[in-house]
Symmetry: C2
Subunit: 205 residues, 2 copies
DNA sequence: TAGATTGTTAATCGATTAACAATC
DNA sequence: TAGATTGTTAATCGATTAACAATC
């Protein structure tokens, strides 16, 4: 891992890799910065700058060698060991992401999903869906590191405490609540309500 | 509506309002900038600056009058007419948001949800869940303005074209695809995969 | 070679935060 | 009054983009 990369650069590197993994690099093994930038709708200088930050260099004529770039992005942003993710209360989207991570060299794995309702537990692909009552136990047992939570606001504080106690170190928070976590836990908030109100504001005429 | 507000200010104003709506302002009708900032885990100067931008003033001793502030935020960021939102392929979360918008003076309303599967259509609260095959027709008919899409990447281009043709002006995009839309359509991307990889990077030790 | 692209620095842009006079 | 908060400007910070020498 390369330390001290800017947050947005980490995100973009992840995007570059994902885009390139679905790019026909068997036939076209090289790509220019402007081409990759175009695919992601960003500025070519951004691509070059990000790759500079991870010390990856291209050929002034051929561009960047895709297969090598994918590997170098992995070295820059992936952890050594596999990291496990839990999805709490977000069935559909959780399954889609589980599938997307389902390739051999991904360091992320959706290890479990949970839901509040008492409906029977189900299995989807390799991912089991448990009732939240078993959450603490399962997170401990499977050594789950990361969690995505999307629940009715009422239960959030309780659930947060529970998963942090069980060892979760990073949370994507889709609730409107502002989570109470120790400083060692990294939280990224996404409030769909405010995004929709923003969308409404910026599409007015 | 107040024009040319910075995007992040619009989002925060939405957050202030939501937080204040669930604040006991019957008993405590005023709030200080540092108190509101604390509830949202942001800087007090931010609150004051945002409220300055919408021309809202407080009392140097009592702070801001909550009931009036809620109204002024509405004047600043809400549209005149109600705006309708469609959720495409994101059942659980869609229903949660539908509930949250379910108060009288909200200008946003979840008018329909859609899903790919052929399962029977269901009704939840006031929100009907249709099969995507009826999407174009329903969006036109109900005059839906905004859409949230979270689908397997395969179908994204087709669906996007369809909803834009039907009149959608703003899209929250949860797929990893980069949508092809006319310039008049406002797209906000959220890629859960790259957020999780970022989370993984920043929680390493 | 001529022309295009890379790698990198500098300039720009926007968002956040510090600072403080004015106020009561 | 003394002390705290507001409203606002200036400073800081970080992210994006422009520019261009070096390269082949």
């Amino acid at each position: 891992m390369i330390e001290n990369l800017p947050p947005n650069t980490v995100e973009r590197l992840s995007n570059y890799r994902r885009k390139l993994l679905s790019y026909p690099f068997q036939e076209k093994p090289f790509i220019h910065s402007h081409r990759l930038a175009h695919l992601l709708k960003i500025n070519p200088a951004h691509v070059r700058r990000d790759l500079m930050l991870i010390g990856f260099t291209g050929d002034v004529h051929k561009g960047y060698e895709i297969e090598k770039l994918i590997i170098e992005i992995g070295k820059a942003i992936d952890c050594q060991h596999k990291r496990k993710v839990a999805f709490i209360g977000i069935g559909d989207l959780g399954r889609a992401v589980a599938e997307a991570f389902n390739h051999d060299d991904s360091k992320l794995e959706v290890a479990a999903t949970f839901r509040l309702t008492a409906e029977p537990e189900i299995q989807f692909q390799n991912v089991h869906c448990y009732n939240v009552s078993k959450m603490k136990q399962i997170i401990r047992q499977k050594k789950i590191d990361l969690a995505v939570i999307a629940l009715p606001n009422a239960d959030v504080d309780e659930i947060t405490k529970l998963i942090v106690d069980a060892g979760v170190k990073g949370i994507l928070n889709f609730t409107s609540a502002h989570l109470k976590v120790p400083e060692t836990v990294f939280v990224e908030n996404y409030d769909m309500m405010s995004k929709l109100e923003k969308l409404s504001y910026f599409t007015n005429e």
